[in-house]
């Protein structure tokens, strides 16, 4: 081993005892751990996303419709020569026939015809030789098995049929979009569908035609179909539609990037401050080594070796920690994600270590190079050498390079840049506000306490550090408070806004011939509910003329014109709707009348007396608006934009819908209902919300863990900033005691400063957390924001405790006889 390497090793060993090196090591360790962890997780998610979007369609082109595809369409596509196949997907209840009390569960059923899928492949366990389950068999996902307590080889009930589970579904393309893509899936053979009785005219389902072929034919079909799409049809192509971007996984990815960037910035700042302090302490040593005959190049090598040695140890430690945490998060999320996340690319295991090295070198190089330029005369004069311009320029270049590295590393340079700027601007703003508040808060004290006046001077003297410290602490506490509160509160508050009699079960797909028996069942069991018929129709006329030419640009954007509306009819006004204008029909009127929801009235500029025309399954029905209703859309009761008077729609095929509330033991009635009417679709709202709560909690836990590490990073940074100012503080304390202050006064002054700093930071964090939470409340759950008084107490208390404890731990008491010696030593 060379002399230089030996010297570097010894130097590192001695410096491990100094606080700045300990902080540097801790910060680098966390940076490497978090980077590796977030890269691994991010890559898993991203690969998951990519796989989902590449395989998502299971075809090159998909025509999706909420109604069975018309024969003309099918003929049109048949003629093109593309390979094609048909799938029906719908929600339905399944149950374990031997499961006793195990409640039925809601799943997404896909009934497909071979060949299926046309692109990508279905993976099952055990692997199957056929494209699809044989008739009478079913493939189900793990969540179905665990929730219903079933094993492959056993049977489950779907509607009037029983199916044998022949394989576990590991992954499959063509999951559909939206919420249904996240519910548990089962696949059956299309030939079994009729016998189940679950799909009848008017049932909610997605009818898809999958197409594949050479690029030109697909493009030609795309061009041919797109202009002629009906309102209930959608055309999905691989390149143009990426239904998963902007969804939950996409958001998770963005959150990971935010966390990574915050943690990396904090680490970089800690390393920067630690190395600055370290290099300041090395002036004399460097001048001595140069004086002893080392050349500047050798000196630079010693310090670089020292950084490299530290990096090797930290790279191993950090990567190992990340691997452990990664497997913990995989465990937490395993049951929640629709499919197991793919393994990350092998080279990514070393990403954190690599970034750690780049950080250490880019941040470490400028101070190390400036150490090599220390004049030997420093040994004689003992003063600190002036920072030359070249060193400053080099440092700026290195920091800019580091910023570029971070942005490139996060793979979304623009988003990361915006975030970086937001964090910096937000941090600076918080820093300045906190410092301003601090000065204002000290004013009343200055007039009452002797210490108050000194505090004012202290605040002026420490203002730069206060700005940095408060910026970091306020940002971190805000993040912490938001994650903490939203992880359980948002959902709880959303649920709390519903009255206690809010229904918790929805029943859909009730066929007309089932209605009398179901009515009887509900009555016998004293279940309070009302059944409504449901028919789909498209609004196409206003006052006997096509509606579109009569509307302005803004009105044309209205959603009610772009999809089929759920229409209903009833004799009596639904009790949960409010009559706002007009009159409800008394008897069956001579001519059809309708009651319209108030927002739709306003958005389309309708008035009472107007007549609206609807296309219902190709037939035209018109009716006059005679009343306006107010509808609470989140009431968990059947709600409709348009309700017809009796007599107008009865001749059209319809299904019925209802909702009701069952509590405690009476929840078993739902199971009983399903065994009597197997083809009904029962949606258990409590179960859905419980699923959502588990999701939020697990995601909250995972993000709290990542945030915890980020927070720890922030704490180390705090300790380093306090250390930076420590010598200055000790020197100041010595001077003040020499000038006549007592030891107790200087101690109290420190405590007062830390306490005030903590209170101000905590209050500011509380305020900004309330703002963010209020935004979340309004945007996500539409609930009037409420204040969280706990935050107002907890955050200032937490911040003050933190500052006082860190301050007291770092501040060593200064005896009077040390003061003069300290001042002399500084001479």
């Amino acid at each position: 081993m060379s002399l230089l390497m030996r010297l570097a090793g010894r130097q590192l060993k001695t410096q491990l005892r100094t606080t700045e090196w300990r902080a540097l090591l801790l910060a680098t360790w966390i940076a490497i751990t978090l980077t590796t962890l977030l890269t691994l997780l991010g890559d898993r998610l991203e690969r998951g996303l990519l796989r989902e979007s590449a395989n998502l369609l299971g075809a090159d082109l998909v025509l999706s419709s909420s109604r069975p595809l018309s024969d003309e369409r099918l003929d049109e596509i048949e003629a093109s020569g593309l390979t094609q196949t048909r799938v029906v997907q719908f929600p339905s209840m399944i149950s374990n026939p031997t499961g006793g009390d195990t409640p039925p569960m809601l799943v997404s059923v896909r009934a497909a015809t071979a060949p299926y899928p046309l692109r990508g492949e279905i993976i099952t366990e055990p692997a199957q030789t056929t494209d699809l389950p044989e008739p009478g068999q079913v493939w189900v996902e793990q969540r179905v098995l665990s929730q219903l307590g079933l094993q492959p080889g056993e049977t489950l009930e779907l509607g009037y049929s029983e199916f044998t589970i022949s394989a576990e579904l590991i992954s499959s393309p063509d999951r559909g979009t939206g919420f249904r893509s996240f519910s548990p899936h089962i696949i059956i053979n299309r030939s079994d569908l009729e016998a189940t009785g679950v799909l009848a005219p008017g049932s909610r389902a997605s009818f898809r035609l999958l197409m594949a072929g050479d690029k030109e034919s697909v493009a030609a079909m795309d061009a041919q179909l797109r202009p002629s799409l009906a309102d209930h049809e959608r055309l999905l192509a691989l390149r143009t539609d990426q239904p998963l971007t902007g969804n939950a996984l996409g958001n998770a990815l963005a959150y990971l990037k935010l966390s990574a960037l915050t943690a990396l910035l904090l680490s970089a700042l800690t390393i920067l401050l630690s190395l600055r302090r370290f290099s300041q302490k090395q002036h004399t040593r460097s001048a001595l080594l140069l004086n002893l005959g080392l050349n500047p190049g050798q000196l630079v090598r010693i310090y670089l070796y020292q950084l490299l040695l530290a990096w090797v140890a930290l790279a191993l430690l950090g990567t190992a920690t990340a691997v452990l945490l990664d497997s913990a998060i995989q465990g937490w999320l395993a049951n929640l994600l629709p499919q197991r996340l793919p393994d990350p690319a092998p080279y990514l295991w070393f990403s954190g270590a690599a970034l750690g090295l780049v950080m250490l070198i880019l941040i470490g190089l400028p101070p190390v190079l400036s150490l090599a330029r220390i004049p030997v005369a420093h040994l004689l004069r003992g003063d600190s050498p002036p920072q030359d311009k070249r060193a400053r320029t080099l440092q700026m270049i290195c920091l800019a390079l580091l910023a570029v590295t971070l942005l490139v590393f996060l793979q979304a340079p623009l988003a990361a840049l915006i975030l970086l700027v937001l964090l910096l601007v937000g941090g600076t703003l918080f820093g300045f506000i906190a410092q301003w508040l601090l000065v204002r808060a000290a004013e009343p004290l200055a007039n009452r306490l002797l210490l108050g006046k000194l505090l004012r001077l202290r605040l002026r003297q420490q203002r730069k550090w206060h700005r940095l410290q408060s910026a970091v602490i306020v940002l971190l506490l805000t993040l912490l408070a938001v994650v903490w509160v939203s992880r359980s509160d948002l959902l709880a508050e959303w649920r709390a806004k519903f009255p206690t009699d809010t229904p918790n079960f929805f029943v859909i797909n009730i066929q007309p011939w089932q209605k009398p028996d179901l009515d009887r069942f509900l009555e016998q069991n004293t279940i309070d509910s009302q059944l409504y018929p449901m028919i789909r129709g498209r609004l196409n006329e206003l006052n006997g003329k096509p509606i579109r030419p009569q509307l302005n640009e803004e009105q044309l954007q209205d959603n009610s014109l772009h999809r089929e509306l759920n229409l209903s009819w009833t004799h009596d006004k639904p009790a949960h709707n409010e009559l706002l204008a007009g009159q409800w029909w008394e008897e069956t009127p001579d001519r059809p009348q309708i009651s319209v929801e108030q927002d739709m009235m306003g958005d389309l500029g309708l008035k009472i007396g107007d007549s609206l025309g609807f296309d219902i399954g190709g037939q035209q029905v018109s009716a006059e608006i005679t009343s306006v209703r107010g509808v609470e859309w989140t009431s968990f009761r059947p709600n409709f934009y348009v309700i017809f008077s009796p007599g107008a729609l009865e001749s059209y095929p319809s299904t019925w819908i209802t909702s009701f509330r069952l509590e405690g033991e009476r929840k078993a009635l739902a199971t009983q209902m399903l065994s009597e009417f197997p083809s009904l679709t029962l949606i258990d709202i409590d179960q859905l919300l419980a699923q959502l709560a588990t999701w939020l909690k697990r995601l909250g836990d995972s993000s709290a863990m990542i945030l915890g590490l980020t927070l720890f990073c922030g704490l180390i940074l705090m300790a380093v900033t306090l250390l930076q100012a420590l010598e200055q503080r000790r020197f100041e304390a010595a001077l003040m005691q020499t000038l006549g202050a007592s030891g107790r006064q200087t101690r109290r002054l420190d405590l007062l400063e830390f306490l005030l700093l903590g209170l101000v930071c905590g209050a500011l964090a509380g305020f900004s957390a309330e703002l963010v939470l209020a935004g979340l409340h309004l945007a996500l759950i539409d609930v009037e924001p409420r204040l969280h008084p706990t935050l107002w107490v907890a955050l200032p208390a937490l911040a003050s405790c933190f500052f006082v404890v860190t301050g007291v731990l770092i501040r060593r008491p200064l005896r009077l006889d040390q003061c003069y010696r300290l001042l002399r030593a500084g001479a």
């Binding site: 006046k453 005691q737 000038l739 006549g740 006064q745 009077l816 003069y820």
Partner: protein, 231 residues
């Protein structure tokens, strides 16, 4: 020296010694030192490095305690005073001027001079601080930070800070050590002028024989003993 003279002394030491405990055993810096300083007198203490001049100064200022013997300031025995009382005494009667000025870099010249005034709870610290800065000719530099001032100007701020509390006793530890000859001379003129004007007792530690010669009395600390230097 009779009793009444003793009571009128600014500083009196009675056979003080200072012993440091080291790993190699006890090291005696000095022992049996007797010293009397009258009010308004200026006294220079000279001696080679390591002779214990600064330790002696911190004992005389009540910043440290003697291993044996007593230190009295205006007849008050330092040993008998608690921390708070000694702090009070420093705040009201004692000031220091250091070789490396020791201004707080984050405070302006005005704030630096205000600091001891705030500590002693002065009525109008701003006005007083500005007055003393104008006394040393720094009126145009009130709001400058130390880094924006030359060495000589920084030492003048330190002098203003020392006189701002109108001390009875002023300790100056190598006040020109970090200044060039010409600036040092100007600073010393200012120091002595103010000293005379305020009738302050000055205790000066220096290597500079010329500076020492300007004091009323000169003492050499050598081998743990104080000897008077006669011209």
């Amino acid at each position: 020296m009779d009793q009444s003279t003793r009571e009128n002394l600014m500083i009196e030491t009675r056979s003080i010694s200072k012993v440091f405990q080291t790993e190699a055993g006890a090291v005696t810096l000095f022992s049996g030192l007797d010293l009397q300083v009258r009010p308004g007198e200026s006294l220079a203490i000279v001696g080679r490095s390591g002779a214990g001049k600064s330790t002696l100064l911190s004992l005389l200022a009540g910043l440290d305690t003697a291993t044996e013997g007593q230190v009295l300031i205006e007849g008050q025995e330092m040993e008998l005073l608690g921390d708070e009382e000694r702090a009070r005494l420093r705040a009201t009667k004692i000031s220091f001027i250091f070789q490396s000025f020791h201004l707080l870099p984050e405070l302006t010249a005005l704030d630096n001079v205000r600091l001891p005034l705030e500590i002693r709870g002065a009525e109008s610290p701003d006005k007083e601080a500005a007055h003393w800065l104008s006394q040393v000719g720094l009126e145009p530099r009130l709001h400058h930070y130390p880094a924006q001032l030359s060495g000589g100007e920084q030492q003048r701020v330190a002098i203003a800070r020392a006189f701002a509390t109108q001390p009875r006793l002023l300790f100056a530890d190598e006040p020109t050590g970090n200044l060039d000859e010409e600036t040092g001379a100007r600073i010393i003129d200012q120091l002595f002028a103010l000293n005379q004007q305020q009738d302050t007792t000055l205790i000066l530690i220096t290597h500079d024989p010329e500076l020492a010669a300007r004091c009323d009395r000169r003492l050499r600390l050598h081998n743990g003993a104080l000897t008077e230097i006669t011209s």
